[in-house]
Symmetry: C2
Subunit: 285 residues, 2 copies
């Protein structure tokens, strides 16, 4: 059976779930269904033609689903998986989009019956805003996609999730263990958010800073407009790794601070040359 | 005399000086001249039609200049001003584009004769790259422009610099004292650069991080590819303010770190809500 003919059920029509529905429909997938807490987004998604059917009740579509995508907030994922586990058929596949993997993959895996395959994944694309109105297939194009298989994940399941990612237009598709993922993501995603929030919060109250900023300040604070509920879950769910990443960063900032304090021009130049070379290499790849 | 007919001499055809030449010519200024250390950029600028004449020798054009723009690196500014001061005519105007004001404005002012007007300014637009090849009139459009008059600056000189900025397409044009400028700029410009450099330098050597980044990491590290020579001058020339800005930032990052450490969900949400409101207000203005 062609994967594009399979019944695919997306749980949660937020930014990521909505973008999946758009991208999969755009890629020629014919049987995309969605379950969402509120009816408004279901109606909107039906109106946009990005799902074939939708419901606020997971029972309406889970029994016939070949693949289910858990696209709810991390703390809602276990409940969602439990319901799917009680309804989905033998040989079906569950994947997810959670931004941290070890903790939640264990939770999800524990409530899914053995006869359901499970392949955790993290699409590295999102928006500051929440909800279907901000979903977009375009935001997935060329973005990085990380698959973090666990012991129970089958080769076939991994291939199917990879296929979904390719068809949605993701760029680099990589495989990591959940632990590797959480460590790297603390550095590449949660740490930058912590920095952006700290930067904008360190301004004085009622200042007219906006009149005196350049592109650099704008770029560095874009993600300071943050979905507070989601990101406290991501920060606390990846606590140890994020603390370590903050400490690594703080060491580097201290090195710059010391060089400024002691007016050490040569050390500053070395730090800048290192960062320039690294950034250049990063973007070339 | 219409300002567009005046003889305007730009010293330094780098990213900023080159962008000035492009934007002023584009705005209908007829007599833009340039002095540059190397002949290559002069020839290129003549070829582009963005200057009427150019030389590696400041004596060739300074005597007839009505307005001179010092667009060299900060540490070269004093020498440049001394030469201009010995050549320029009574009633002429000098302005600059330096990213820090108190220290260098004093240096420049000290070597300019009283009969030359001087109005320091900071166009908040630049590039990570250096040189005329990266100059662009477009990068100035809508950017912030700060004028930092000192005691000797005349009202007429301030008006003329403002006119130049408007004609080049800058957005908000504001006036600050040099001290106010250096304090706010430590926060909005130098601190973000220190953070970007620290972020990318805190990665492990030879990691393949590039495969696991999203837009947030890309945005936050863009300015980590930095002109090392220029930025060590800017950092050390604004030392006290930048140290204070780093310390304010560190306090905020520590607050986030503590909240993560103690798994304090409510504090995290409050910090995120504060940053979201601030960022939202910043961009709306």
């Amino acid at each position: 059976m062609d994967i594009k003919d399979k019944n695919i059920l997306i749980i949660g029509l937020g930014v990521v779930g909505g973008s999946y529905a758009m991208a999969l429909t755009g890629a020629g997938y014919k049987n995309i269904y969605a379950v969402n807490r509120s009816e408004g987004s279901i109606k909107k998604a039906l109106g946009l033609g990005i799902i074939k059917g939708g419901s606020t009740n997971v029972e309406d579509f889970a029994r016939n689903a070949d693949i289910a995508v858990i696209a709810v907030y991390p703390t809602g994922a276990e409940d969602c998986a439990r319901k799917l586990g009680s309804l989905m058929k033998k040989g079906s596949l569950v994947t997810d989009v959670l931004g941290i993997k070890r903790y939640y993959s264990q939770k999800i895996s524990a409530v899914l019956p053995d006869y359901i395959d499970y392949v955790p994944a993290h699409p590295m694309a999102g928006r500051e805003k929440r909800g279907l109105d901000y979903a977009s297939a375009q935001v997935l194009k060329g973005a990085n996609f990380i698959i973090t298989p666990i012991a129970r994940s089958t080769e076939q399941g991994i291939c199917e999730v990879k296929q979904l990612a390719e068809d949605m237009g993701f760029g680099k598709i990589r495989t990591l263990t959940p632990d590797e993922h959480d460590s790297v993501i603390a550095y590449t995603s949660q740490l930058p958010h912590a920095l952006a929030v700290s930067l904008i919060n360190s301004d004085e109250e009622d200042s007219n800073t906006g009149d005196f900023i350049g592109d650099s300040f704008r770029d560095l604070t874009r993600i300071a407009e943050i979905n507070a509920d989601l990101w406290q879950e991501l920060f606390l769910g990846n606590r140890e790794n994020l603390l370590a990443a903050i400490d690594m960063f703080t060491d580097q900032l201290s090195a710059i601070r010391s060089a400024i304090q002691s007016e050490d021009k040569e050390s500053l130049i070395k730090l800048f040359e290192k960062s320039s070379a690294r950034r250049h290499a990063l973007i070339k790849k």
